[in-house]
Amino acid sequence: MNDPTFSQARRAKRPQWLRVFGVPIVIGVLSLAGLLSALLAGDPGRYFSWFGVGLPVAIAAWTYWRNS
């Protein structure tokens, strides 16, 4: 995974906008789904909201842990 040539080869396949905004778009959609699900979908919606809205917390924690 950390091999630079592999990483570059993987990069080249995807358009640049997707590489930059792909993950943020997925996080954004899941966040929004989580914000609304607790309001609209009862108990299952509430459980999903913890995942969707909590995703940024998990990503920040993972990034911090990976870099320390």
């Binding site: 906008w17 905004f21 943020p24 309001l39 913890w50 940024p56 917390v57 990503i59 990034t63």
Partner: protein, 380 residues
């Protein structure tokens, strides 16, 4: 993105952020404890305690509760009476000198529904201080509108930040934190990462906050249009001197809206109704319908139902936006996540300020043209 475009967005991001940062820090720092205001009030002893009562006792009439509230504050009149979904034993009463007195002087007191004895003031203590600092900085409506404006400026800062995310990270992997470079770059990477992963949440909380800051204006529109029309047949008549029995009013309202339970009743002359009507606001039992209250207007003297229209869409929007601002609709885990995302926002604000100062220091040591070129180089 062209260098010139990046520079324009950079100026927008810098200035909208600089203008709103101090107020946003205040909003975040006061909002943090407000997420847990229920738990904090409980822990600090600011929550009403159930009165001791005989076993098998039944609830007293609402007129008895109302009489008890007025006896507790002689000379006051009733403004509202409310019922908490989670505390069915308790009735909240709102009284003041007149129905149009300054809302900040309204006495909000809880009464035990079974004994009609006062069981504590509501909305006092440190959480009230936090709430006032959060909503209007003790400046009343102008303070609220100012905070709403700062919220809007913050949203422009968020959007411009999202635009700048592209030139600043397009050569990097997602969530790349460059350690080997300077401290400034390390903070820039964290600023970009925390900013972009919280962007939807921040826009939702910011947008709903702005909407709530202007809620009174929207309530005023409803009053001037729909309430005035409903009260038109009573034009020229004095406000009812003798009000209908509250129990009659509530009973009629519930008959008109099967399956719903009362959230609160507004007395004639208060901002939530006309000068001649009681307004009973009823709620459903899901997270959504419990917020989207339905008003029933009843004649102040007879308690007969005058109208059961739905709230207009703009007031429904305010009501639905409230949980999305408070984060109180998904249990304790969601509240904790809300708090952590607020902490992330504080870090984004703080690192943004640091990055601005650090960049200015760096630019101070080099000629202007070089400094401008460096922003563009950094961003491309």
């Amino acid at each position: 993105m062209k260098a010139r475009t990046a520079r324009i967005w950079s100026v927008i991001h810098t200035w909208t952020s600089l203008i709103s940062t101090v107020f946003l820090l205040l909003l975040c720092l006061t909002g943090l404890p407000l997420i847990f205001h229920h738990e904090i009030d409980d822990a600090l002893g600011y929550s009403p305690k159930m009165d001791a009562r005989a076993p098998g006792a039944s609830k007293l009439s609402l007129d008895a509760i109302s009489a008890a509230a007025l006896a507790d504050h002689p000379g006051n009149v009733m403004l509202y009476m409310g019922w908490d979904k989670d505390e069915p034993w308790m009735v909240s009463t709102f009284t003041n000198k007149t129905v149009t007195s300054d809302p900040q002087t309204t006495v909000v007191k809880a009464f035990d529904a079974y004994t009609a004895r006062p069981v504590g003031l509501l909305g006092t203590g440190p959480m009230l201080v936090m709430l006032r600092l959060h909503t209007d900085m003790y400046l009343g409506l102008p303070g609220k509108w100012f905070m709403g404006l700062m919220g809007f400026v913050f949203m422009v800062a968020i959007v411009s930040g999202l635009v700048l995310y592209w030139p600043f990270t397009r050569r990097l992997d997602f969530a790349a934190i460059r350690k080997q470079k300077s401290r400034r770059i390390w903070w820039l990477d964290w600023h970009n990462l925390l900013g972009v992963i919280t962007v939807v949440w921040a826009l939702v909380v910011g947008g709903t906050g702005v909407l709530n800051a202007y809620a009174e204006l929207l309530l005023g529109v409803w009053q001037r249009n729909e309430l005035t029309a409903i009260a038109a047949p009573y034009a020229g008549q004095p406000t009812p001197a003798k009000l209908a029995s509250l129990d009659t009013v509530l009973g009629n309202a519930m008959k008109a809206t099967p399956g719903m339970e009362p959230a609160f009743v507004a007395f004639p002359g208060t901002p939530f109704t006309s000068t001649h009507h009681f307004a009973v606001f009823l709620r459903g039992d899901t997270p959504l319908t419990s917020r989207m209250v339905k008003p029933v207007l009843l004649d102040g003297e007879t308690g007969a139902v005058s109208s059961t229209s739905d709230l207009p869409i703009y007031l429904k929007a305010v009501l639905v936006s409230q949980p999305l601002h408070f984060g109180d609709y998904g249990g304790m885990p969601l509240k904790i996540i809300w708090a952590l995302l607020t902490v992330f926002t504080i870090i984004v604000l703080g690192s943004g300020l640091y990055l601005y100062i650090a960049r200015r220091r760096k630019q101070g040591r080099q000629p202007r043209a070089v400094a401008e070129a460096s922003i563009v180089a950094e961003a491309s």
